[in-house]
């Protein structure tokens, strides 16, 4: 082993330790909360799993296929007997492992993803395949960043126009392509019945999470716990996860916490465990997040899969449209309906303002935030843009701005 490799190995070892520490301290922070209940332990356990891919692989009992972003239909993977696992990570320490190889102003989530992969490279089970919908500029560079095996990686070409016939057709073709890719990789044939069954299983999860969203909007559930549940999605097989969600619903029904302070809506870039700093700071500033449009939280389950008919094509079309048209990621060119989610929550619930989270380097959300700000302010709705990354140095500054915002 030459010096270079030795140095890399040492760094990897140190970073692995830091990642471990970051995850564990984040967990301890959650467990130390006044509103902690053993019902949350299951979800906190799941949130620790990304560090231990071997354990995760054993727990889900299926081959794992990693994916980026929300547009690859979970039901397809599930129906083919594989487990979809979202690569996204909110780990600051992991990002350090890859930071030197990428631009400073690059999306920290992508840095963390690459870092986590490098940590796992030598010691843990590799995924059977990777599926990458081409959303933002960073994501499309995934192949170059990771040197992943092209044979194992499938890029779903995401049409950035959703409300055009061509866009919808192309995306449906991509869904068929994904089926073909997975069939060839996994050596199984996707059956209509299996797909219909998976749709039902995920719809049940959608139904349960809908109840949890209602509880949260009514101010009976703190945002961090909702995010903990959302972040743990697909870190366990879907059915026991949904079952645990039922327990949570029972718990929230029985022990509703009362919303403290003003209700706000949290919009913008994804927030991922263990980096829950923004929801925690919002809470500390005396506000409660009653709704969000984060792709790692409520927006994992937009729309609903309502097939026109239960033929294979009908199911696939319904899935493709649910994951394409219902998505409000600002990487889409026709995204004017994004504000509707916010306005809908604002109309129905006591939400006083919008906090917009921009991850440094997350250009789509950054750009979109200015349009959103104009629209909301013209409607008389207070708006605060918070641009940050996974570091904690700016916490004090953010807290001050949030406290000032809470005073409005």
């Amino acid at each position: 082993m030459d010096d270079n490799n030795k140095r890399r190995a040492r760094l990897r070892s140190r970073v692995r330790q830091e990642v471990q520490t970051e995850y564990e301290s984040a967990r301890r922070l959650m467990e130390a909360r006044d509103d902690y209940d053993p019902v949350w332990a299951y979800f906190l356990d799941l949130l620790m799993r990304p560090m231990d891919r071997n354990g995760l692989q054993a727990a889900v009992g299926r081959p794992v296929v990693e994916h980026l972003c929300n547009q690859a239909p979970y039901e397809l993977f599930h129906a083919m007997g594989v487990h979809p696992l979202r690569m996204a990570s909110g780990c600051f320490a992991a990002g350090r492992l890859s930071a030197g190889d990428f631009p400073v102003l690059m999306c920290p989530m992508l840095k963390a993803i690459v870092g986590m992969q490098r940590l796992r490279e030598s010691s843990q089970t590799a995924p059977s395949a990777r599926v990458v919908p081409t959303t933002c500029d960073w994501v499309v560079q995934y192949q170059q960043m990771t040197d992943a095996d092209p044979e194992q990686t499938f890029f779903m070409e995401l049409p950035h126009l959703r409300e055009s016939e061509r866009g919808q057709q192309r995306w449906l073709e991509q869904a068929y392509e994904l089926v073909r890719f997975l069939e060839s990789r996994m050596g199984v044939k996707l059956k209509r019945k299996a797909l219909a069954s998976s749709v039902q299983i995920f719809m049940r999860a959608w139904q349960a999470i809908g109840r949890l969203i209602e509880q949260r909007r009514a101010g009976r559930l703190p945002a961090v716990w909702f995010m903990a549940v959302a972040n743990s999605f697909m870190l366990d097989p879907i059915e026991p996860w949904t079952e645990q969600l039922q327990r949570v619903l029972g718990h929230v029904d029985a022990h509703p916490s009362q919303a403290a302070g003003k209700g706000v809506f949290l919009a913008g870039s994804p927030i991922l465990f263990p980096n829950f700093k923004l929801p925690l700071l919002i809470e500390a500033a005396g506000m409660t997040v009653l709704g969000d449009d984060l792709c790692t939280s409520e927006r994992i389950w937009p729309g609903a899969v309502c097939p026109e008919e239960n033929s294979f094509h009908g199911l696939l079309r319904a899935l493709a449209e649910r994951y394409h048209m219902a998505c409000i990621c600002p990487t889409f060119a026709d995204n004017e309906r994004r504000i509707n989610t916010i306005l809908g929550v604002l109309q129905r619930y006591p939400v006083r303002g919008v906090v917009h989270h921009v991850l440094k380097g997350c250009h789509p959300f950054d750009i979109d935030s200015f349009r959103l700000e104009r629209q909301l302010k013209s409607a008389g709705i207070p708006f605060l843009r918070i641009e940050t990354d996974y570091v904690e140095e700016d916490n004090r500054n953010i807290a001050t701005r949030l406290e000032a915002f809470a005073e409005i």
Partner: protein
């Protein structure tokens, strides 16, 4: 469940309008739906027959203005207007027996696992004017017969040369008469060839494409003309729509307007038949609603979508509390 209620209403009216006359039930000659009068013992007659008819049609009203005959022709028009105002497109989605027949074909196709034929957006748009052309055809030809000496065998032009209900619906009363070619003269032969050929094509169209004939139905145009003064409203809360596309995909008529509408509240479009399938599949609370005057008849909700699209729990699967 709205779709179950609709199924019951559709079949009730299918029986009433196809066989009602045999039991003394008749809803008159101005129904805003394809209750075919060529069915012996039918329980009501489509207004399009009255519109084209030599004794009740528009040309009679014009030619006998101010007389009892003229008023009688207008009486059918008035009755049609009243019935249309009362129920608007519910006539199409809930009552029309020919619509129900088309839904049977769709049911059969789905049971056989054959997927629906898709029309491109441009093809769908190009088909839209056809029903206006058919409406003009059925108004102009009787006028030409009455005033321009056109041969009388051109009478009832829509019923006799276009409408597929005429050959198909009498089959339910045991009559194959309207499937025959009429060799009486050239006009009757051409009309019957058109009628039978269109019915054959439509039959297949109805099998592969849900509510295929409704894409061409001139009754939709007539009903649509009265939408603004009808108490039946189909509305969208445009500011709360997430654009998921369920309404568009589930629409039997492939209507895009409901999904695409971003400014206007009224979304009862020309081709809509108020089957409420879109509202049933919209997961956003209160985004789509059907009203009668100020009363809300049905409105979209996440809970409803869950009940509608999630099958009842089976042993071994996850139980979800609603």
């Amino acid at each position: 469940m709205v779709f179950k209620l609709r199924l019951i209403v559709q079949h009730l009216f299918f029986v009433l309008l196809t066989y009602g006359g045999r039991f003394g039930f008749h809803m008159g000659f101005a129904l805003p739906c394809f209750s075919c009068p060529f069915v012996m013992g039918c329980g009501g007659s489509c207004y399009l027959l009255s519109l084209q008819g030599n004794w009740w049609g528009l040309q009679m009203a014009l030619a006998n203005w101010g007389t009892v005959m003229g008023l009688q022709a207008l009486y059918y028009l008035g009755l049609f207007v009243l019935l249309t105002l009362a129920l608007n497109k519910f006539w199409c989605g809930w009552i029309c027996p020919f619509g129900t027949l088309q839904d049977w074909f769709t049911y059969l196709r789905r049971r056989l696992g054959i997927r629906e034929a898709q029309l491109s957006w441009s093809a769908r748009d190009r088909l839209k004017p056809v029903k206006y052309i058919l409406l003009a055809y059925m108004i102009v030809v009787p006028l030409l017969i009455a005033h321009a000496g056109l041969h009388y065998d051109f009478h009832l032009p829509f019923c006799r040369s276009i409408c597929p209900a005429k050959p198909l619906m009498p089959l339910f009363a045991g009559s194959t008469r309207h499937l025959a070619l009429d060799f009486t003269n050239t006009v009757t032969l051409v009309f019957s060839i058109l009628s039978v050929a269109i019915a054959g094509g439509m039959l297949v169209g109805m099998f592969f494409k849900e509510r295929f004939f409704c894409l061409f139905c001139p009754m939709l145009v007539l009903i649509h003309l009265l939408r603004k003064i009808s108490p039946v409203r189909f509305e969208k809360e445009v500011g709360a729509c997430l654009g998921c596309g369920n309404c568009r995909r589930n629409c039997p008529m492939d209507i895009r307007d409901v999904h695409e509408q971003k400014t206007d509240k009224a979304v009862l479009s020309e081709d809509c038949m108020l089957c409420m399938t879109c509202t049933e599949s919209c997961p956003a609370d209160g985004v789509l609603s059907v009203r009668f005057f100020k009363w809300r008849l049905f409105s979209s909700s996440r809970d409803y979508v869950a009940r509608r699209f999630i099958k009842p729990h089976k042993a071994g699967s996850v139980k979800v509390k609603v």
